[in-house]
Subunit: 225 residues, 2 copies
Amino acid sequence: MIRLLTGEEPGDQAAGGEGGPVIRLLIVDDHPVVRDGLRGVFGAVPDFEVVGEASDGAAAVELADRADVVLMDLRMPGVGGVEAIARLRETRPGVRVLVLTTFDSDSDVLPAIEAGATGYLLKDAPREELVRAVRAAHCGESVLSPTVAGRLMASVRRPSDQALSARERQVLALVAGGATNRDAARELFVSEATVKTHLLHIYDKLGVRDRASAVAEAYRRGLLS
Amino acid sequence: MIRLLTGEEPGDQAAGGEGGPVIRLLIVDDHPVVRDGLRGVFGAVPDFEVVGEASDGAAAVELADRADVVLMDLRMPGVGGVEAIARLRETRPGVRVLVLTTFDSDSDVLPAIEAGATGYLLKDAPREELVRAVRAAHCGESVLSPTVAGRLMASVRRPSDQALSARERQVLALVAGGATNRDAARELFVSEATVKTHLLHIYDKLGVRDRASAVAEAYRRGLLS
DNA sequence: TCCGGCATCAACCGATCGGTCGATGCGCGG
DNA sequence: CCGCGCATCGACCGATCGGTTGATGCCGGA
C-alpha cells in the first residue's frame, strides 16, 4: 500500500517559511489505526510534515526519497522492517530510520540496529517522547527506549554471559526444529561432541538443564521465533 | 491511566438527537498512539462517541459503566485484557467487549473468547471494518477477523487433532520449564508412564518427534508463552 | 448401546542425552 | 606475549528419553 498525502512536490520542503526547517516524515506501519494515530500526533506539531504512508517495507523504500525521517514498524507482511532498513541504508543513506514497534525481543532489536536503524522506540511511548525522538533522529542522534537500551547494554556488557554465540544460536535453532545431536552435527559439518559442547554452553548461559527448556527459554527471550 | 474525555454524563447518550442512538465507546489500549488512532477513526463517524480511554484492564473496568462497547487490547501491563473481560462479564454484563489486538495466537484468542468477548479483531483491519464491527458488536453480533475465525473453526472441527487437551498442555508447560518426565509425574501426581503417554500424544498432534521441538512448535503456534 | 477420546498405568528395549574429564587451534585485546 | 573466549573433537558413563505393546476406567456423542 502506498499513499501520497500531499500535493506538494519533494522540492517544497522549505515552503512553510516560518518556524525553521520542516522535518518530512514517512510513516510505515501495516496497521491503519496506528498510521492514523501517528499522523495525528505529528500533524499537530508545526514543524513536522507527514509526506507519505506505507504499509510494508517495499512501499517504504519507494517513498523514502520524499522524507527526512522514516518511522518504521518491523513486523509487516511482505518486506519486513529490517529488510527495508537495510535497503534504505544502501539507496538512501541520508534518510534516518526510527524503528517504532511493539516488540522489544532480542530477535527484533539486534537485527534492526545492525541493519542501520537510527533509533528504536516502543509503541507504548507517550506522544511527546515520540516527537522528541524524531527530532533527535533527524539530527542523527540515537534514540532508544529504556528497555531496548537495557537490552543493548546487557548484550555488550557481557559478551560471554547471556548472549549466545552465532554458532550456539545455530545449534539451538536446529534443536528447536527437532534435530538430534547427530542431525545437528551432520547439518553443521562437525562432530556430535562439538554439538554437545555447544549445548552445554547454551544450558549454562540460559540457566537451564536440558534442550527442551533451553528452547523454551530462547523463545521467552526472543532468541528464536 | 484513566482519561475522561467528555463533560457529558452517562445519561446524555441520547443527547445527539438526530441520527439515531449514539454508540458510546471505551478505548482500552496501552499504546497512546493506538488510542489516538482509534479516537480519530470513531470521532469522525457521527453516531459514535468516545466516552473514555484506559491504558490497562483495571481502569477499563472502572470506566465501563459509561460505555456500550469496549474496544479492548489484550496484552497490557498490570491487569490484562482477558482478566478485564472476565471482570466486565460479572460487573457489567450489558457491555459488549470487542477485542482489538495485534496477536492471533491460540494462547490469546481462545482465553479471550472463553472470557466472554463479543468479537475479536486484529489491528491490521481497515478503518471501515472496525466501524462496522463495533456496530455489529453493539447489536450483540459476534465479529471475528478471518484468521481468528479460521483458528476457531480449526479448534472446533477436530477436537482431537491439533488441539492439545488441558492435561497435555500442563505436561508441555512443565517440560518447557525444564521438568523431566519424573518431575512432571510428581508435579501432576501421576506415574511417569502417564507423562510419557501424554508426551507421545503431544508429539503426534504437533507433528514432532521429541520434547525440544514440541516446545518449539508450541511457541510457534502460540500454545505457550 | 457402542464407539472414540481421554486419562491412567506397566514393562521392556535401544537410542539418545547430559555430565565430565580431557585435548587442540584460532583470534583478539590487554 | 599471554590470557580468554570460541570452536572443535574424543571417550566414558549413568540417566533419561522415545517407542512399543497392552491394559483399565470414565465419559459423551452417534
